[in-house]
Every structure is written in C-alpha cells, then in structure tokens.
C-alpha cells in the first residue's frame, strides 16, 4: 500500500521470500567443485607415472594389493549400509537409522585403521621420489575426507537425539550420505589408478 493512493487496486500477487530448500543445491555444487581437486591429483599422478624417467624408488617392487582390496570392499559396502540408514530415516524409524548409521561409521573407521596399518608397513616414505609423494598425497587426502565423513556422520547421529529435529535432520543426512558416496567413488578410482595399474619399470 502506498500512502499516496490507498485505494489503488494492485494487480500483482506479492512474491514471498523462499527461505528453504537451498542447502542441497549448494552442497551438490560444493561436491562437484571438490571432485575437481581429486581429478587434478589423479591427472597429475597419471602424467607423472607415464612420463617420469624413474618411477619406483630403489628397493621397491610395487604395492601389495590384498589388504587394500579388503579395505575397498568394506568401504564400498559401507555405502550400501548408509543407504539402508537413509531408508530407515525416511520411514521414520529412528533407532533403525541410528543402528545402520553407526555401522557405517564403524566400517569407515575400520577403513582408516586399515590405511594406517598399510602405511606403517610400507618401505618408502613421502619423500621417496615421485612415487612416494604421489602415493601418500592421494591416499592421505582421501583418508582426510573419510575422517571428515565419519565426523560429519557423528554430528548427524548426535543431532538425531534432538527432539523435533526430524525434518532438518533428513536434509543433513542426505547431504552427508552424498558425501560418503562421493568419498567411495573417489576411492574406487584411486584403487584402480594406484593398485591395479602398477608400473614396474
């Protein structure tokens, strides 16, 4: 209404402010951006592997693949467990959600532990030429993301105990779940690049 002409008939329907629904869009855009940094590392890794005159440090013949394969299976399965947790939440079964969610966190933690075990048994370090540097950079950066995912999951778990947090909680769980799947896909690519495709010269 304007004081100049209070009888003026307005033709428009006032558009109201939309306050919600932006978080998931923003998070997906964030994940796309984050995937580029991994893509950059993967590309660098591949190029160095192909072109470096010396790849493996002296005394190193290659990487063991059995233990990492077990780790991979556990991490990939945890994505399915996280999916089941989401289904429980959608059906408003909070305890079912919490159980599956906790299991996902446990499997993720096992992965981190397995990574630590593998690292401590390796005969080369971060400064062992290009090979050492790229190996620890890629697996380390990925491991950081796994730990972040576990912490975020913990936060979601904690928030599930807050009364009436249901609607906002579901959005948060969707986002963290997406993040977990993302971390999973990155690992699969990593596993193929580092462990399956081994250069022996």
């Amino acid at each position: 209404m304007t004081s100049a002409n209070p009888d003026l008939q307005l033709k428009h329907q006032p558009g109201h402010i939309k306050h919600d629904g932006h978080n998931l869009t923003g998070f997906i855009i964030f994940l796309c951006s984050e995937s580029i940094i991994f893509l950059a590392f993967f590309t660098g890794f591949a190029l160095l592997k192909i072109t470096s005159p010396e790849w493996l440090p002296s005394g190193v013949d290659g990487l063991e693949t059995k233990l990492p394969l077990i780790n991979t299976v556990i991490l990939v399965s945890s994505s399915f467990v996280a999916y089941f947790a989401e289904r429980y939440l959608h059906k408003e079964n909070l305890w079912g959600f919490r159980a599956m969610w906790l299991l996902t966190m446990a499997m993720g933690s096992y992965f981190v532990y397995g990574q630590y075990v593998e690292w401590s048994g390796l005969p080369f370090s971060l400064s062992s030429g290009v090979f050492g540097g790229t190996f620890y950079l890629l697996t380390g950066f990925h491991g950081l993301h796994v730990i972040t995912g576990i912490l975020l999951m913990g936060l979601m778990l904690f928030r599930s105990f807050r009364p009436n947090n249901y609607a906002k909680g579901e959005m948060g769980v969707t986002a963290v779940s997406l993040f977990w799947h993302f971390v999973d896909v990155i690992w699969i690519i990593l596993y193929v690049l580092i462990y399956v495709w081994q250069r022996t010269t």
């Binding site: 072109t51 470096s52 005159p53 010396e54």
Partner: protein
C-alpha cells in the same frame, strides 16, 4: 527479438552507405600503412625464421588496426553526434537488435580468426622445419648426450648451452668453452639446451627465438642465423635474484672468422667466464647481506673465451 521496423518499400539510406563505405576505405588504407610500419617495431631480423614471424606480425597489426580504427572511430562519432541535449530526458531509438547483423558479426570474425589460426599453424610448421625442437627427459645420473637425438640436418654443433643461476656457458663439439655464442653465418646450428638448476629461457630477440630450458631434460634445438652482428641473448624465464643480469651476446660472423675464432680460442687457458651475479652477490655480502633471501650464484663457468660484455650490440 524484434528487428528494426522497416517499411519494405523504404529506399536504401544512400548517404549512410556512402559514409560507411568511405570510412571503411580510409580505415583500410590507414591499417595497411600501419602494417608496414610494424616491421620497424621489431629488432633487425637475423635468422631464417624471422621473416615469417615478421610477416605474420605485420598481418595481425594490419587487421588489428583495421578493427581498432573502425570501432574507436565509431565510438568517437557516437560521442560527437549522438549526445543527449542538456534537458532532453527522452530515450534513444528503441532498437533491441537485428538478427541478421548479429549473425554477420559472429560469422565474419569466426572466419577471420580461423583463417589467422590456420595460417599461423602453417607458419608454425615452417618454423619447426627451419628449427626443430625436441625435448628429452634425462634421469639424474644420465648424460644428456646419451639421451638426445641430434638434428640430422645440422651444419654446426651440437653446441651445449648450459644455463645456470646466473650465467651462460657454451661448449662446442671440439671442447671449446665460451661465455659468448659464436655462430657462422647461414649455417644451421644445433643446440643442446641444458639447465643445471632451475627453469631458464634461451631468448635471442633478433632471431625471434625463445625456448625455455627445463632442468631434468635436454632440448635439442636448431636455428640458422642470416645476418652478421652482435645480438643479445637474454634469459627470459624468471630464475632468481640476479635473473636480469643473466644475459650475454651472440656473435654471428663469416665462416672464416668463425673457424679462426674456434682455433684461436681452443688454445687459450681456462678462466672465469661471464657471471655478473657473482660480483653483485659478493658486494651484497660485503655490505652486510641486506636484502631478501637468495641462493648464492653458481660458480662462474671456466671458459676459454670470457667474452667482451661491454661491447655494443646490434639488437
């Protein structure tokens, strides 16, 4: 998108077309003149590659001048003749666009830049045949000679060009070492570009040649000088504190003078070569090492001919 509303029976705006046409002719004439001047904006051409580069540059200057004069001329014309009167609050012509015109000014620039690109590829291939370049990665304990394949069509060389922080050293096939690069006229010279520490760049403006030197690799590169004289060789890739001083001269001389120089130099004793950073760094240390962090200069190369850094150069 609405185009200008035109009555199909409206006569062609003759005056406007005449003005545009004469402006275009004047523009083309001026641009052609500028493109000829452009040859004077480059150092004296001293290699077989130079004429091709200079012709391409002149062409782009001409096209650029045509676009610049045309566009800026139009802007100035608008500023002079399309100004609003002081108290005139009305709007301009309500033209939202003209699809035909927009397509035209998309297609014509596309054709021009693609033509330029393909002509440039042709020049590129020509330069590559006049002076082929090949980079070979060298492992830590490998000798560059073991890895690099030399230019089979060379007349002179391979001359090892060793760049350091902050000096140049030239090692000739018979073992002669020099701080200045001597080359015989009209003979294709093959270089092996080597860096002992960081990135450097082998830049001789008169030859229109620039090639970065990458540590951990050796680059085989050839060029044919076509003019006698003393030309500057400058390091063009930032390489640290005294980078601006990492310059020396290229002396192109007749074949006779060149072989005389080689013979005379071979018998000279090894002395410290040109390394301006060394003296500057010593002075800095004497003055209390004030200034920001820098690695100390590499020791000056030991050469037969330390050169004459104060001699005037041609380009």
């Amino acid at each position: 998108m609405t185009s200008t509303r035109r009555n199909p029976k409206k006569p062609l705006p003759i005056r406007l077309l005449v003005v545009i046409l004469s402006a275009t002719v004047v523009d083309a004439f001026l641009s052609f003149q500028v493109s000829r001047w452009a040859y004077g904006w480059l150092p004296v051409p001293a290699s077989t590659a130079a004429p091709y580069v200079d012709d391409l540059f002149s062409l782009e200057v001409g096209i650029g001048a045509f676009v610049f004069i045309g566009c800026v001329g139009f802007i100035i014309w608008s500023i002079l003749f399309s100004r609003a009167e002081k108290y005139d609050e009305s709007d301009g012509l309500p033209i939202e666009g003209n699809t035909k015109l927009e397509i035209t000014w998309t297609v014509i620039p596309f054709v021009i830049v693609m033509a330029l690109a393909f002509y440039s590829i042709h020049v590129n291939e020509k330069l590559a045949s006049l002076g082929p370049k090949q980079k070979y990665d060298v492992a830590v304990n490998q000798s560059p000679d073991a890895v690099a394949t030399l230019d089979a069509r060379r007349d002179v060389g391979p001359i090892e060009v060793i760049s350091r922080q902050w000096s140049w050293e030239f090692v000739y096939p018979d073992g002669v070492r020099s701080s200045e690069l001597h080359l015989p006229l009209n003979q294709r010279a093959n270089f092996l570009l080597i860096s002992e520490d960081v990135l450097h760049s082998f830049y001789i403006p008169a030859f229109r040649l620039k090639q970065d030197i990458i540590p951990g690799s050796v680059i085989s590169y050839s060029i044919t000088p076509t003019r006698e004289g003393r030309f500057r060789l400058r390091d063009a890739m930032f390489s640290g504190a005294y980078f601006s001083k990492n310059q020396t001269d290229v002396i192109v001389e007749s074949e006779q003078d060149y072989s005389d120089w080689l013979k005379a130099t071979a018998s000279r004793p090894l002395v410290q070569g040109l390394s301006p950073g060394t003296a500057l760094y010593e002075k800095r240390l004497k003055d209390g090492d004030r200034g920001w962090a820098t690695v100390p200069p590499a020791p000056p190369p030991m050469v037969n001919d330390p050169g004459n850094p104060d001699a005037p150069h041609d380009a």
